[in-house]
């Protein structure tokens, strides 16, 4: 079987995707998702600023812990009495079970935006290499026969693509992720929000395809 020109068996595709998702998480410490990565590259200034803060927090772990403890005790005093007593009782119960001096937790420093850019570039380079090595490289001016049968060709088809792309961008921002982020990474970490989002993605796609078939 030629892995560059034919669809992979489901099990091989699943293994490859899980390798990418798990490898991404363990190498960068954040969940894998293309829309999230794209957002981090687009907001690189904020990412750099946040990274700098995290590095400072990691360097001053003991000082950070002290401040967090002082603020926690102050916040506790601002709670209504009944709630405060309940939290204090739970704190005492926890205190009895743990060592007197636990080490300060280390702040995880996010990756440099260049790492995200490299990930996005690698997607394009991988696609290019696959197309070149399978002899399918070429400049395409349409989305293929199926797309043309629904939306025709020319400027109107491009306009629909543009509007579709905008909907995907806005939708992934609203949903907090795309099919990769929710469908693979979120579902595999058993996040209820990702189950809901993935169900909505697929249900909408099925309904939309029936509507388009009926209308066009």
């Amino acid at each position: 079987m030629n892995l560059l020109t034919q669809y992979w068996p489901w099990w091989l595709g699943a293994l490859a995707l899980s390798f990418v998702a798990v490898g991404y998480f363990y190498s960068l410490g954040i969940p894998c998702g293309v829309s999230g990565v794209f957002g981090r590259v687009a907001g690189w200034r904020e990412e750099l600023e946040a990274r700098s803060t995290e590095m400072s927090m990691a360097r001053n772990a003991a000082q950070v812990q002290e401040q967090m403890m002082a603020e926690a005790l102050a916040a506790l005093q601002e709670l209504p009495e009944e709630e405060r007593k309940q939290v204090e009782a739970e704190m005492r119960a926890a205190q009895a079970q743990e060592a007197a001096s636990a080490p300060a937790a280390t702040t995880v420093v996010r990756p440099h935006p260049a790492a995200h850019l490299a990930f996005l570039a690698s997607i394009a380079v991988g696609g290019l290499l696959a197309a070149l090595s399978s002899g399918q490289w070429g400049l395409l001016t349409d989305m293929g026969a199926t797309y043309s049968s629904f939306f025709g060709s020319g400027p109107s088809a491009w306009l629909i693509l543009f509007v579709g792309g905008m909907c995907v961008g806005v939708g992934t921002q609203m949903a907090g992720g795309c099919t990769l982020g929710h469908g693979i990474t979120g579902n595999s970490s058993l996040q209820i929000g990702s189950f809901t989002a993935t169900a909505a993605f697929f249900a909408t796609a099925v309904v939309a395809s029936f509507i388009f078939k009926a209308l066009l």
Binding site: Q67, M69, A72, A75, E98, A105
Partner: protein, 63 residues
Amino acid sequence: MACSHIPTCPLFKHFQSNATLRSWKLMYCDSDKRSQNCERFKRSEAGETVPPNMLPNGKSILL
């Protein structure tokens, strides 16, 4: 049900390191209702950037 942002919250790990810090978890993370008061949660839900040093009550850790 606990806060849905726990898996991605960078501060949550700190909240488990000792009993005093665990009070943050008890005050803000242990239920959906409590997480609605978390400034980090509110900012994130609004699609805004959440500063890494912002505590659940909206105050910042000074560095």
